[in-house]
């Protein structure tokens, strides 16, 4: 199991376009991927409803977890999405 703590840099939190991008990226991975807010149960990172339901805001930290081949790579990609500060239109 690979875990990664990531701070959400998006101004809109894990909502709107960042959430959609995060879920779509996770959904392409063959293995299970979870995301957890501190003190709460991890949820399925491939589920837009579960991810929105976290209601994770700018500046909060989440823990990403995945296991198996390519887990490191996947978490790095997901971390990159959460670390992007701006997600506005051009």
């Amino acid at each position: 199991m690979t875990e990664r703590r990531v701070k959400i840099m998006s101004r809109v939190g894990l909502h709107a376009r960042p959430a959609a991008l995060f879920v779509q990226t996770a959904a392409k991975a063959p293995m299970d991927v979870t995301v957890a807010l501190d003190g709460r149960d991890p949820v399925n990172a491939k589920s837009i409803l579960a991810v929105l339901g976290l209601d994770a805001h700018h500046g909060e930290e989440v823990t990403l977890a995945a296991a198996g081949d390519g887990a490191e790579e996947l978490l790095t990609t997901l971390e990159g999405i959460l670390s992007q500060e701006e997600h506005g239109r051009a």
Binding site: S10, V12, G13, R17, S47, L49, L52, G53, D55, H57
Partner: protein
């Protein structure tokens, strides 16, 4: 003979009138009954449910390709993701496995997620509308009833809906929709924004609008915020005459607004999107009394940059080189939540929460950015004035004025929308150069009546004597005081406001010619007499009648 019923009342969000038969959204999806069971083949039942969800996802993605803008496309794609959600699918399978019929299983699986979103902040609560739309489409598909949506028609019609989802608007044909009427929504709802973009008259927050029968002829007045059922031909003609679309307005600039005896009262336009500027000029506006800046910020994830903002402000100033342009800084919060400005805590009553200047005080960098952009646009363009929304006390107005002056903007002003601000207007007047009364919010707060509540529309009447008293306090506090609420668009009330001491009137552009004409027919003394008669009345209805009676003795 029974008295004909009065018009339905709501909030006019897009000016002008439209008349046509009612067409309601088709396919109101019923809730599948609790306890509905399937025949026993759980695998086939689950497959049917998941196939319906996939059909919905595919159709939403298809709609996304036709979306009018990026924001709409993002919403539709997010809805497609919801329809394909693996947790939702698991919830459906689990329910079907214990014998629940597919439509009910889908309904219940959505309900589990719906609760989680609805309990979260305002932004997520707004996503509940999107989620419900996905649910209704899936249930409709399973029940074999029409997918909810805008009715197809070759004949012009008035679209009546509870509210419009983004997916509804993607396929809307503006050539056949002559007006919108919705039960829900406010001035910044999807319906309102779309209506103004299309130039279609619209009234939102009309109680029981969806009870209007299909085919019923209605006259929608987006300026007055009314819906007349079965209007007489003369009503329809009168509304058309009053609309005076730009092609009917003289190209020569109208004379300046004012009373018959020469008291100047600049007649200004309320601008919600830059496209309103052309209509404002065409209808003889002398400037802009309320330039809303929310359009720059809505439906986007981050703050627009200095250049983008400055260009938008400069466009307004260039449209009225000889007149004043009053720009209101960002009025976010309440019915206008922004993703990058979430309230610091969940708000049970957002209209009483962190909105307007209150929100900007928590995010001084956004205010500073907006003021810097305004200063850039205002350099060499002398008409610029800047004001803050939702100001309560003199400490707030002083802090705002200081921020403006720091940015090089030397004519700061504030909105008077809160009774406390009106009651202590003299204190505020020591800190700023001008006031602008927002009659809609002032009525909301004076009467403790949520603007979004159609059931309380009678309390949103700007003729209420209490509201007139508050306007008089603001207008007599020692700095020029304008009115930029819907009240200014009523020609009779406009005269009363001038009689109360109001210095300028700002309104939807289409309302300007009628206000100009009425005001030009009365002396300032007559306006004062009408104001006194209205304030001496005990109810909105008698205030209106009293003012009318005074003004009827005209000329």
């Amino acid at each position: 003979m029974p008295e004909p019923p009065g018009p339905l009342r709501g909030t006019g969000v897009s000016a002008g009138s439209g008349c046509g038969p009612v067409r309601r959204m088709v396919g109101t999806v019923p809730e599948p009954p609790a306890g509905a069971r399937h025949e026993g083949d759980a695998a086939a039942e689950a497959a049917a449910a998941l196939a319906a969800l996939e059909r919905v996802a595919a159709s939403l993605e298809d709609l996304a390709g036709h979306a009018p803008d990026d924001a709409g496309r993002d919403v539709l794609r997010a809805q497609a993701l919801m329809a394909r959600d693996p947790e939702l699918a698991a919830g459906v399978r689990a329910r079907v496995a214990v014998g629940i019929a597919a439509p009910r299983a889908v309904f219940e699986a959505f309900a589990a997620h719906r609760e989680a979103l609805a309990a979260a902040d305002a932004y997520l609560a707004a996503r509940v509308v999107d989620l419900d739309d996905v649910r209704d489409r899936a249930v409709a598909s399973l029940l074999g009833v029409p997918v909810p949506g805008v009715p197809a028609s070759d004949e012009p019609f008035v679209l009546v809906a509870r509210d419009l989802a983004p997916a509804d608007t993607a396929l809307l044909d503006p050539a056949t929709v002559v007006a919108f009427v919705t039960e829900n929504g406010g001035p910044t709802s999807h319906t309102a924004i779309l209506a103004r973009a299309l130039g279609v008259p619209a009234v939102v927050a009309v109680p029981d609008a969806t009870a209007l029968a299909d085919g019923l002829l209605v006259l929608v007045d987006g300026t007055a915020g009314t819906v007349h059922v079965a209007p007489s031909p003369s009503d329809v003609l009168a509304a058309r005459f009053r609309d005076r679309t730009p092609s009917h307005v003289s190209a020569a600039p109208a004379g300046p607004g004012g009373t018959r005896d020469g008291r100047r009262v600049p007649l200004l336009a309320n601008i919600t999107v830059p496209g309103d500027l052309a209509a404002a000029r065409a209808h003889g506006a002398e400037g802009v009394g309320l330039y809303r800046t929310e359009f720059l910020f809505l439906d986007r994830a981050d703050v627009p940059g200095l250049d983008e903002q400055a260009a938008a402000y400069a466009e307004a100033l260039d449209a009225f080189p000889g007149g004043d342009v009053v720009v209101r800084v960002l009025d976010a919060g309440a019915d206008k939540p922004l993703p990058f400005l979430p309230p610091s805590a969940p708000e049970a009553n957002p209209a009483l929460g962190e909105r307007g200047l209150r929100m900007l005080r928590r995010h001084p960098e956004i205010l500073a950015g907006q003021l810097a952009a305004l200063a850039e646009a205002g350099a060499g363009r002398p008409g610029l004035r800047v004001m803050a929304p939702m100001v309560t006390g003199a400490d707030e107005s002083a802090a705002f004025a200081a921020a403006c002056r720091d940015a090089g903007l030397d004519r700061p002003g504030v909105m008077i929308e809160v009774p406390a601000a009106a009651l202590r207007a003299r204190d505020l007047a020591r800190t700023v150069e001008f006031f602008s009364v927002g009659t809609n919010d002032l009525a909301q707060y004076a009467c403790a009546a949520d603007r979004q509540s159609g059931a309380l529309s009678r309390l949103h009447d700007p003729w209420q004597p209490a509201l007139l008293d508050l306007v008089a306090l603001a207008a007599g506090a020692g700095v020029p005081c304008g009115v930029c609420g819907e009240g200014a668009a009523d020609p009779i009330l406009a005269c009363v406001l001038v009689g109360l001491g109001v210095a300028s009137l700002s309104m939807a552009p289409t309302a300007i010619p009628a206000v100009r004409e009425e005001l030009a027919g009365h002396t300032l003394d007559r306006c004062r007499a009408a104001a006194a008669a209205a304030r001496a009345s005990r109810t909105a209805a008698t205030a209106r009648a009293a003012a009318r009676a005074v003004l009827a003795r005209r000329r």
